[in-house]
Symmetry: C2
Subunit: 263 residues, 2 copies
Protein backbone atom coordinates (compact mmCIF):
# COMPACT_ATOMS: atom_id res chain seq x y z
CA UNK A 1 0.00 0.00 0.00
CA UNK A 2 1.36 3.42 -0.92
CA UNK A 3 0.48 6.18 1.48
CA UNK A 4 0.03 9.60 -0.04
CA UNK A 5 0.86 11.46 3.13
CA UNK A 6 3.75 13.90 2.86
CA UNK A 7 4.30 13.70 6.60
CA UNK A 8 5.24 10.02 6.40
CA UNK A 9 7.98 8.09 4.62
CA UNK A 10 7.82 4.33 4.16
CA UNK A 11 10.90 2.24 4.89
CA UNK A 12 11.93 -1.40 5.14
CA UNK A 13 13.68 -2.14 8.40
CA UNK A 14 14.69 -5.06 10.58
CA UNK A 15 12.95 -5.84 13.82
CA UNK A 16 14.89 -7.75 16.47
CA UNK A 17 12.63 -9.49 18.94
CA UNK A 18 13.75 -12.02 21.50
CA UNK A 19 16.88 -12.72 19.53
CA UNK A 20 15.13 -13.19 16.16
CA UNK A 21 15.47 -10.80 13.26
CA UNK A 22 12.63 -10.19 10.82
CA UNK A 23 11.85 -7.79 7.99
CA UNK A 24 9.33 -5.09 8.70
CA UNK A 25 7.63 -2.43 6.64
CA UNK A 26 7.57 0.70 8.78
CA UNK A 27 6.80 4.43 8.75
CA UNK A 28 9.11 7.33 9.55
CA UNK A 29 8.02 10.84 10.32
CA UNK A 30 9.28 13.34 7.73
CA UNK A 31 11.56 16.11 9.04
CA UNK A 32 11.96 18.95 6.55
CA UNK A 33 13.87 22.23 6.52
CA UNK A 34 11.46 25.09 5.81
CA UNK A 35 12.69 28.63 5.21
CA UNK A 36 10.56 31.64 6.06
CA UNK A 37 10.99 34.81 4.02
CA UNK A 38 9.61 38.06 5.42
CA UNK A 39 9.19 40.83 2.86
CA UNK A 40 11.59 39.05 0.50
CA UNK A 41 14.30 38.70 3.14
CA UNK A 42 15.35 35.22 4.31
CA UNK A 43 14.52 35.09 7.98
CA UNK A 44 14.86 31.64 9.52
CA UNK A 45 15.04 27.94 8.60
CA UNK A 46 13.03 25.61 10.82
CA UNK A 47 13.17 21.81 10.90
CA UNK A 48 9.54 20.72 10.97
CA UNK A 49 6.72 18.46 9.84
CA UNK A 50 5.92 19.92 6.40
CA UNK A 51 2.21 20.64 6.67
CA UNK A 52 0.29 23.82 7.49
CA UNK A 53 3.37 25.81 6.52
CA UNK A 54 1.40 29.04 6.10
CA UNK A 55 0.24 28.71 9.72
CA UNK A 56 3.73 27.84 10.91
CA UNK A 57 5.26 30.91 9.24
CA UNK A 58 2.59 33.31 10.49
CA UNK A 59 2.65 31.74 13.97
CA UNK A 60 6.43 32.02 14.17
CA UNK A 61 6.35 35.68 13.11
CA UNK A 62 3.53 36.48 15.56
CA UNK A 63 5.29 34.65 18.43
CA UNK A 64 8.49 36.55 17.71
CA UNK A 65 6.63 39.87 17.62
CA UNK A 66 7.15 40.63 13.92
CA UNK A 67 3.42 40.78 13.24
CA UNK A 68 1.12 42.28 15.82
CA UNK A 69 -2.24 42.73 14.16
CA UNK A 70 -4.11 41.18 11.29
CA UNK A 71 -4.06 44.35 9.17
CA UNK A 72 -0.26 44.14 8.94
CA UNK A 73 -0.44 40.72 7.25
CA UNK A 74 -0.79 41.17 3.48
CA UNK A 75 0.10 37.84 1.86
CA UNK A 76 1.27 34.32 2.75
CA UNK A 77 2.37 31.90 0.03
CA UNK A 78 3.94 28.50 0.69
CA UNK A 79 5.95 26.46 -1.81
CA UNK A 80 5.60 22.97 -0.34
CA UNK A 81 7.97 21.36 -2.87
CA UNK A 82 10.88 23.69 -2.16
CA UNK A 83 10.09 24.20 1.52
CA UNK A 84 9.73 27.98 1.39
CA UNK A 85 7.11 30.30 2.83
CA UNK A 86 6.89 33.91 1.67
CA UNK A 87 5.18 36.35 3.99
CA UNK A 88 4.46 39.94 3.05
CA UNK A 89 3.53 42.50 5.69
CA UNK A 90 3.01 46.24 5.71
CA UNK A 91 6.40 46.55 7.41
CA UNK A 92 8.36 44.97 10.21
CA UNK A 93 8.33 46.24 13.74
CA UNK A 94 11.71 47.71 14.52
CA UNK A 95 11.39 46.75 18.17
CA UNK A 96 10.68 43.13 17.29
CA UNK A 97 13.53 43.06 14.83
CA UNK A 98 15.91 44.37 17.43
CA UNK A 99 14.82 41.78 20.00
CA UNK A 100 14.92 38.97 17.46
CA UNK A 101 18.39 39.94 16.27
CA UNK A 102 19.55 40.35 19.84
CA UNK A 103 18.24 36.95 20.79
CA UNK A 104 19.64 35.11 17.81
CA UNK A 105 22.83 37.10 17.69
CA UNK A 106 23.22 36.00 21.29
CA UNK A 107 22.85 32.51 19.93
CA UNK A 108 25.40 33.16 17.24
CA UNK A 109 27.61 36.14 16.95
CA UNK A 110 28.43 37.20 20.47
CA UNK A 111 26.47 40.37 21.04
CA UNK A 112 23.59 41.28 23.33
CA UNK A 113 22.44 39.91 26.63
CA UNK A 114 21.23 36.44 27.48
CA UNK A 115 18.09 34.88 26.08
CA UNK A 116 16.35 34.79 29.42
CA UNK A 117 16.99 38.43 30.22
CA UNK A 118 15.74 39.55 26.83
CA UNK A 119 12.54 37.55 27.13
CA UNK A 120 12.03 38.30 30.78
CA UNK A 121 12.07 42.03 30.23
CA UNK A 122 9.13 41.78 27.83
CA UNK A 123 6.79 39.63 29.93
CA UNK A 124 3.99 41.02 32.01
CA UNK A 125 1.09 39.55 33.97
CA UNK A 126 -1.53 37.99 31.68
CA UNK A 127 -5.04 39.44 31.69
CA UNK A 128 -7.22 37.02 33.63
CA UNK A 129 -10.23 36.12 31.50
CA UNK A 130 -11.96 34.35 34.40
CA UNK A 131 -11.50 31.00 32.62
CA UNK A 132 -11.90 27.88 34.77
CA UNK A 133 -11.81 24.19 33.89
CA UNK A 134 -12.95 21.08 35.74
CA UNK A 135 -10.69 18.15 36.58
CA UNK A 136 -12.94 15.88 34.50
CA UNK A 137 -12.53 18.12 31.43
CA UNK A 138 -8.72 18.15 31.82
CA UNK A 139 -8.59 14.34 31.87
CA UNK A 140 -11.11 13.92 29.05
CA UNK A 141 -9.49 16.47 26.73
CA UNK A 142 -5.98 15.06 27.28
CA UNK A 143 -7.28 11.60 26.44
CA UNK A 144 -9.05 12.89 23.34
CA UNK A 145 -5.91 14.70 22.17
CA UNK A 146 -3.81 11.55 22.63
CA UNK A 147 -6.22 9.42 20.61
CA UNK A 148 -6.41 12.03 17.85
CA UNK A 149 -2.69 11.81 17.09
CA UNK A 150 -2.58 9.55 14.00
CA UNK A 151 0.93 10.63 13.07
CA UNK A 152 2.25 9.77 16.51
CA UNK A 153 0.51 6.40 16.52
CA UNK A 154 2.08 5.64 13.14
CA UNK A 155 5.61 6.99 13.66
CA UNK A 156 6.13 7.73 17.37
CA UNK A 157 8.12 10.76 16.30
CA UNK A 158 5.96 13.84 16.90
CA UNK A 159 4.55 16.05 19.59
CA UNK A 160 0.96 17.15 19.44
CA UNK A 161 -0.67 20.30 20.70
CA UNK A 162 -4.38 20.95 21.03
CA UNK A 163 -6.11 24.26 21.60
CA UNK A 164 -9.32 23.60 23.52
CA UNK A 165 -12.17 25.38 25.18
CA UNK A 166 -13.52 23.75 28.32
CA UNK A 167 -15.54 21.26 26.25
CA UNK A 168 -13.71 20.33 23.06
CA UNK A 169 -10.64 20.53 20.84
CA UNK A 170 -10.76 23.60 18.58
CA UNK A 171 -7.42 23.24 16.74
CA UNK A 172 -5.10 20.21 16.73
CA UNK A 173 -1.57 20.20 15.30
CA UNK A 174 1.30 17.70 15.25
CA UNK A 175 4.96 18.44 14.55
CA UNK A 176 8.39 16.96 15.20
CA UNK A 177 9.01 20.15 17.23
CA UNK A 178 6.98 21.21 20.26
CA UNK A 179 7.51 24.87 19.38
CA UNK A 180 6.38 24.37 15.79
CA UNK A 181 3.18 22.61 16.83
CA UNK A 182 2.34 25.56 19.07
CA UNK A 183 3.28 28.12 16.40
CA UNK A 184 0.97 26.37 13.90
CA UNK A 185 -1.90 26.90 16.33
CA UNK A 186 -0.91 30.53 16.90
CA UNK A 187 -0.77 31.06 13.12
CA UNK A 188 -4.16 29.51 12.45
CA UNK A 189 -5.85 31.47 15.24
CA UNK A 190 -4.23 34.72 14.16
CA UNK A 191 -5.29 34.33 10.52
CA UNK A 192 -8.84 33.29 11.35
CA UNK A 193 -9.34 35.65 14.27
CA UNK A 194 -9.89 32.85 16.80
CA UNK A 195 -9.42 34.38 20.26
CA UNK A 196 -6.83 32.67 22.51
CA UNK A 197 -7.56 34.26 25.87
CA UNK A 198 -10.46 31.93 26.67
CA UNK A 199 -8.66 28.77 25.50
CA UNK A 200 -6.47 26.10 27.09
CA UNK A 201 -3.34 24.67 25.46
CA UNK A 202 -2.78 20.91 25.77
CA UNK A 203 0.63 19.51 24.79
CA UNK A 204 2.36 16.14 24.92
CA UNK A 205 5.75 17.83 25.35
CA UNK A 206 7.58 19.02 28.42
CA UNK A 207 6.90 22.59 29.55
CA UNK A 208 10.21 24.43 29.24
CA UNK A 209 10.73 28.18 29.69
CA UNK A 210 10.40 28.76 25.95
CA UNK A 211 6.95 27.14 25.74
CA UNK A 212 5.78 28.98 28.83
CA UNK A 213 6.93 32.31 27.38
CA UNK A 214 5.05 31.55 24.15
CA UNK A 215 1.84 30.74 26.05
CA UNK A 216 2.10 33.82 28.29
CA UNK A 217 2.68 36.08 25.27
CA UNK A 218 -0.47 34.70 23.63
CA UNK A 219 -2.47 35.47 26.76
CA UNK A 220 -3.40 31.82 27.31
CA UNK A 221 -4.04 31.35 31.03
CA UNK A 222 -3.91 27.52 31.32
CA UNK A 223 -1.34 25.07 29.89
CA UNK A 224 -1.72 21.31 30.37
CA UNK A 225 0.93 18.68 29.63
CA UNK A 226 1.38 14.91 29.81
CA UNK A 227 4.97 15.63 30.87
CA UNK A 228 7.04 17.63 33.34
CA UNK A 229 7.53 21.39 33.62
CA UNK A 230 10.97 22.83 34.40
CA UNK A 231 11.70 25.04 37.42
CA UNK A 232 12.34 28.05 35.15
CA UNK A 233 8.98 27.55 33.41
CA UNK A 234 7.28 27.50 36.82
CA UNK A 235 9.07 30.72 37.86
CA UNK A 236 7.81 32.44 34.71
CA UNK A 237 4.31 31.00 35.24
CA UNK A 238 4.25 32.52 38.75
CA UNK A 239 5.36 35.91 37.37
CA UNK A 240 2.82 35.92 34.55
CA UNK A 241 -0.08 34.22 36.35
CA UNK A 242 -0.37 31.19 34.02
CA UNK A 243 -1.84 27.97 35.46
CA UNK A 244 0.52 25.03 34.82
CA UNK A 245 -0.84 21.48 34.94
CA UNK A 246 1.53 18.57 34.35
CA UNK A 247 1.79 14.78 34.36
CA UNK A 248 -1.80 14.22 33.24
CA UNK A 249 -1.97 10.43 33.31
CA UNK A 250 -4.91 8.12 33.90
CA UNK A 251 -7.10 9.77 36.52
CA UNK A 252 -4.53 12.12 38.00
CA UNK A 253 -2.53 15.29 37.35
CA UNK A 254 -0.39 17.87 39.16
CA UNK A 255 -1.21 21.58 39.52
CA UNK A 256 1.94 23.69 39.84
CA UNK A 257 0.68 27.30 39.74
CA UNK A 258 -2.57 29.31 40.00
CA UNK A 259 -4.69 26.32 41.12
CA UNK A 260 -7.86 28.46 41.43
CA UNK A 261 -8.59 27.91 37.73
CA UNK A 262 -9.14 24.19 38.28
CA UNK A 263 -12.58 23.53 39.78
CA UNK B 1 14.47 17.15 53.96
CA UNK B 2 16.52 19.69 52.04
CA UNK B 3 18.24 18.36 48.96
CA UNK B 4 21.56 19.99 48.11
CA UNK B 5 21.36 19.19 44.44
CA UNK B 6 21.60 22.19 42.13
CA UNK B 7 19.84 20.26 39.41
CA UNK B 8 16.64 20.02 41.44
CA UNK B 9 14.24 22.56 42.94
CA UNK B 10 11.71 21.60 45.59
CA UNK B 11 8.15 22.82 45.28
CA UNK B 12 4.76 22.39 46.96
CA UNK B 13 2.09 21.49 44.47
CA UNK B 14 -1.42 20.05 44.35
CA UNK B 15 -2.13 16.56 43.13
CA UNK B 16 -5.59 15.83 41.73
CA UNK B 17 -6.43 12.15 41.79
CA UNK B 18 -9.84 10.69 41.10
CA UNK B 19 -11.48 14.01 41.85
CA UNK B 20 -9.68 14.63 45.15
CA UNK B 21 -7.06 17.34 45.65
CA UNK B 22 -4.13 16.90 48.03
CA UNK B 23 -0.90 18.73 48.85
CA UNK B 24 2.31 17.21 47.57
CA UNK B 25 5.97 17.98 48.01
CA UNK B 26 7.57 17.54 44.59
CA UNK B 27 10.79 18.11 42.63
CA UNK B 28 11.32 20.17 39.49
CA UNK B 29 14.29 19.91 37.18
CA UNK B 30 16.29 23.15 37.09
CA UNK B 31 16.58 24.84 33.67
CA UNK B 32 19.30 27.48 33.57
CA UNK B 33 20.63 29.86 30.93
CA UNK B 34 24.37 29.35 30.53
CA UNK B 35 26.48 31.64 28.38
CA UNK B 36 29.64 30.43 26.68
CA UNK B 37 32.44 32.92 26.05
CA UNK B 38 35.15 32.00 23.54
CA UNK B 39 38.33 34.06 23.84
CA UNK B 40 36.44 36.75 25.77
CA UNK B 41 33.69 37.02 23.15
CA UNK B 42 30.12 36.07 24.06
CA UNK B 43 29.23 33.19 21.81
CA UNK B 44 25.95 31.50 22.72
CA UNK B 45 23.44 31.11 25.56
CA UNK B 46 22.11 27.60 26.10
CA UNK B 47 19.20 26.56 28.31
CA UNK B 48 20.48 23.52 30.19
CA UNK B 49 20.83 21.48 33.35
CA UNK B 50 23.55 23.40 35.20
CA UNK B 51 26.16 20.71 35.86
CA UNK B 52 29.30 19.70 33.99
CA UNK B 53 29.34 23.16 32.40
CA UNK B 54 32.99 22.90 31.41
CA UNK B 55 32.18 19.75 29.45
CA UNK B 56 29.09 21.35 27.91
CA UNK B 57 31.06 24.38 26.70
CA UNK B 58 33.93 22.36 25.27
CA UNK B 59 31.55 19.83 23.71
CA UNK B 60 29.50 22.57 22.09
CA UNK B 61 32.61 24.23 20.66
CA UNK B 62 33.97 20.89 19.40
CA UNK B 63 30.60 19.91 17.86
CA UNK B 64 30.41 23.26 16.09
CA UNK B 65 33.97 22.91 14.79
CA UNK B 66 35.52 25.77 16.77
CA UNK B 67 38.02 23.49 18.48
CA UNK B 68 39.54 20.64 16.50
CA UNK B 69 42.40 19.30 18.60
CA UNK B 70 43.33 19.23 22.24
CA UNK B 71 46.37 21.48 21.80
CA UNK B 72 44.10 24.36 20.76
CA UNK B 73 42.27 24.26 24.11
CA UNK B 74 44.12 26.42 26.66
CA UNK B 75 41.72 27.09 29.52
CA UNK B 76 38.14 26.39 30.63
CA UNK B 77 36.66 28.17 33.64
CA UNK B 78 33.02 27.92 34.71
CA UNK B 79 31.22 30.32 37.02
CA UNK B 80 28.34 28.16 38.23
CA UNK B 81 26.66 30.98 40.19
CA UNK B 82 26.45 33.38 37.27
CA UNK B 83 26.00 30.68 34.59
CA UNK B 84 29.04 31.62 32.52
CA UNK B 85 31.77 29.48 30.99
CA UNK B 86 34.96 31.07 29.70
CA UNK B 87 36.95 29.11 27.14
CA UNK B 88 40.35 30.20 25.89
CA UNK B 89 41.85 28.64 22.76
CA UNK B 90 44.92 29.36 20.64
CA UNK B 91 42.57 30.91 18.10
CA UNK B 92 39.30 30.15 16.36
CA UNK B 93 39.04 28.35 13.08
CA UNK B 94 37.92 30.78 10.45
CA UNK B 95 36.15 28.04 8.53
CA UNK B 96 34.18 27.00 11.59
CA UNK B 97 33.34 30.59 12.37
CA UNK B 98 32.04 31.15 8.89
CA UNK B 99 29.85 28.02 9.00
CA UNK B 100 28.57 28.84 12.47
CA UNK B 101 27.72 32.40 11.51
CA UNK B 102 26.11 31.22 8.29
CA UNK B 103 24.02 28.69 10.12
CA UNK B 104 22.89 30.99 12.86
CA UNK B 105 22.55 33.98 10.62
CA UNK B 106 20.26 31.77 8.59
CA UNK B 107 18.42 31.27 11.84
CA UNK B 108 18.34 34.97 12.45
CA UNK B 109 19.34 37.67 10.09
CA UNK B 110 18.46 36.45 6.63
CA UNK B 111 21.74 35.56 4.99
CA UNK B 112 23.26 32.30 3.82
CA UNK B 113 21.77 29.05 2.66
CA UNK B 114 19.56 26.65 4.57
CA UNK B 115 20.68 24.77 7.64
CA UNK B 116 20.45 21.39 5.98
CA UNK B 117 22.54 22.42 2.97
CA UNK B 118 25.23 23.90 5.15
CA UNK B 119 25.51 20.80 7.27
CA UNK B 120 25.09 18.38 4.41
CA UNK B 121 28.02 19.85 2.53
CA UNK B 122 30.36 19.10 5.42
CA UNK B 123 29.42 15.48 6.08
CA UNK B 124 31.35 12.56 4.73
CA UNK B 125 31.26 8.81 5.23
CA UNK B 126 32.42 7.81 8.73
CA UNK B 127 35.50 5.65 9.06
CA UNK B 128 34.30 2.14 9.91
CA UNK B 129 36.14 0.94 13.01
CA UNK B 130 34.78 -2.60 12.62
CA UNK B 131 32.69 -2.16 15.77
CA UNK B 132 29.88 -4.66 16.28
CA UNK B 133 27.40 -5.14 19.12
CA UNK B 134 25.11 -8.01 20.09
CA UNK B 135 21.34 -7.71 20.48
CA UNK B 136 21.70 -8.77 24.13
CA UNK B 137 24.19 -5.96 24.82
CA UNK B 138 21.88 -3.37 23.21
CA UNK B 139 18.97 -4.41 25.43
CA UNK B 140 21.10 -4.68 28.58
CA UNK B 141 22.85 -1.32 28.14
CA UNK B 142 19.59 0.52 27.37
CA UNK B 143 18.07 -0.93 30.52
CA UNK B 144 21.13 0.01 32.57
CA UNK B 145 21.06 3.58 31.22
CA UNK B 146 17.35 3.93 32.07
CA UNK B 147 17.88 2.73 35.63
CA UNK B 148 20.87 5.04 36.10
CA UNK B 149 18.84 8.18 35.48
CA UNK B 150 18.18 9.49 39.01
CA UNK B 151 17.27 12.95 37.81
CA UNK B 152 14.66 11.56 35.41
CA UNK B 153 13.20 9.30 38.07
CA UNK B 154 12.89 12.29 40.40
CA UNK B 155 11.66 14.98 37.97
CA UNK B 156 10.61 13.32 34.69
CA UNK B 157 12.07 16.33 32.93
CA UNK B 158 15.39 15.27 31.37
CA UNK B 159 16.91 13.25 28.59
CA UNK B 160 19.85 11.01 29.29
CA UNK B 161 22.69 9.97 27.04
CA UNK B 162 25.20 7.21 27.70
CA UNK B 163 28.44 6.54 25.88
CA UNK B 164 29.13 2.82 26.01
CA UNK B 165 31.52 0.22 24.74
CA UNK B 166 29.99 -3.16 23.98
CA UNK B 167 30.05 -4.10 27.67
CA UNK B 168 29.41 -1.09 29.88
CA UNK B 169 28.56 2.58 30.27
CA UNK B 170 31.68 4.76 30.06
CA UNK B 171 30.13 8.23 30.42
CA UNK B 172 26.57 9.07 31.48
CA UNK B 173 25.00 12.54 31.28
CA UNK B 174 21.52 13.96 31.83
CA UNK B 175 20.19 17.30 30.61
CA UNK B 176 16.88 19.01 29.86
CA UNK B 177 18.18 19.17 26.26
CA UNK B 178 19.07 16.13 24.14
CA UNK B 179 21.77 18.13 22.36
CA UNK B 180 23.31 19.33 25.61
CA UNK B 181 23.50 15.81 27.07
CA UNK B 182 25.39 14.69 23.96
CA UNK B 183 27.66 17.75 23.98
CA UNK B 184 28.57 17.06 27.63
CA UNK B 185 29.78 13.63 26.57
CA UNK B 186 31.69 15.06 23.62
CA UNK B 187 33.32 17.62 25.93
CA UNK B 188 34.38 15.08 28.54
CA UNK B 189 35.83 12.70 25.94
CA UNK B 190 37.66 15.52 24.17
CA UNK B 191 39.25 16.83 27.37
CA UNK B 192 40.24 13.39 28.65
CA UNK B 193 41.26 11.95 25.30
CA UNK B 194 38.64 9.18 25.39
CA UNK B 195 38.28 7.87 21.82
CA UNK B 196 34.76 7.91 20.36
CA UNK B 197 35.16 5.79 17.23
CA UNK B 198 34.83 2.50 19.11
CA UNK B 199 31.88 3.61 21.23
CA UNK B 200 28.09 3.50 20.97
CA UNK B 201 25.80 6.37 21.90
CA UNK B 202 22.59 5.50 23.78
CA UNK B 203 19.93 8.20 24.14
CA UNK B 204 16.40 8.41 25.51
CA UNK B 205 15.52 11.15 23.00
CA UNK B 206 14.29 10.98 19.45
CA UNK B 207 16.93 10.83 16.71
CA UNK B 208 16.47 13.99 14.66
CA UNK B 209 18.78 15.19 11.88
CA UNK B 210 20.69 17.39 14.31
CA UNK B 211 21.57 14.50 16.64
CA UNK B 212 22.54 12.29 13.71
CA UNK B 213 24.83 15.00 12.32
CA UNK B 214 26.48 15.35 15.75
CA UNK B 215 27.08 11.60 15.99
CA UNK B 216 28.44 11.34 12.43
CA UNK B 217 30.79 14.26 13.01
CA UNK B 218 32.18 12.54 16.11
CA UNK B 219 32.81 9.38 14.11
CA UNK B 220 30.46 7.28 16.26
CA UNK B 221 29.18 4.42 14.12
CA UNK B 222 26.18 3.22 16.19
CA UNK B 223 23.39 5.26 17.80
CA UNK B 224 20.68 3.61 19.89
CA UNK B 225 17.45 5.25 21.10
CA UNK B 226 14.36 4.37 23.09
CA UNK B 227 12.45 6.56 20.67
CA UNK B 228 11.87 7.18 16.96
CA UNK B 229 14.26 8.47 14.32
CA UNK B 230 13.04 10.95 11.68
CA UNK B 231 13.21 10.28 7.93
CA UNK B 232 15.85 13.01 7.50
CA UNK B 233 18.03 11.45 10.21
CA UNK B 234 17.80 8.11 8.39
CA UNK B 235 18.78 9.74 5.06
CA UNK B 236 21.86 11.23 6.71
CA UNK B 237 22.64 7.90 8.42
CA UNK B 238 22.59 6.19 5.02
CA UNK B 239 24.91 8.82 3.54
CA UNK B 240 27.37 8.66 6.42
CA UNK B 241 27.16 4.93 7.20
CA UNK B 242 25.91 5.25 10.79
CA UNK B 243 23.87 2.35 12.25
CA UNK B 244 20.57 3.63 13.67
CA UNK B 245 18.69 1.52 16.22
CA UNK B 246 15.37 2.79 17.60
CA UNK B 247 12.44 1.87 19.80
CA UNK B 248 14.48 -0.27 22.19
CA UNK B 249 11.76 -1.54 24.51
CA UNK B 250 11.55 -4.74 26.50
CA UNK B 251 13.11 -7.48 24.39
CA UNK B 252 12.85 -5.77 21.01
CA UNK B 253 14.26 -2.97 18.86
CA UNK B 254 14.31 -1.75 15.25
CA UNK B 255 17.39 -1.51 13.02
CA UNK B 256 17.02 1.22 10.41
CA UNK B 257 20.44 1.40 8.73
CA UNK B 258 23.72 -0.56 8.44
CA UNK B 259 22.35 -3.68 10.20
CA UNK B 260 25.65 -5.58 9.78
CA UNK B 261 26.94 -4.01 13.01
CA UNK B 262 24.32 -5.85 15.08
CA UNK B 263 25.29 -9.49 15.60
Amino acid sequence: MIIMDKRIKEIDIYRNKEGLRSDLHDYLVVEAPVTIYLNEEEMVTLLCTPENLEELAVGFLVSEGFIRNKEELQEVKADYDKGNVFVVTTGTSLIAERTFLKRYITTGCGKGTSFYNVMDAKLSKIVDSGLKISAEAILALMKEAANKSELFLKTGGVHSTALCDTKEIIVFREDIGRHNATDKIVGKCFREGIPLQDKILFTTGRISSEILIKVAKMGISIIVSRSAPTALAIDIAKETGVTVIGFVRGSRFNIYTSPERVV
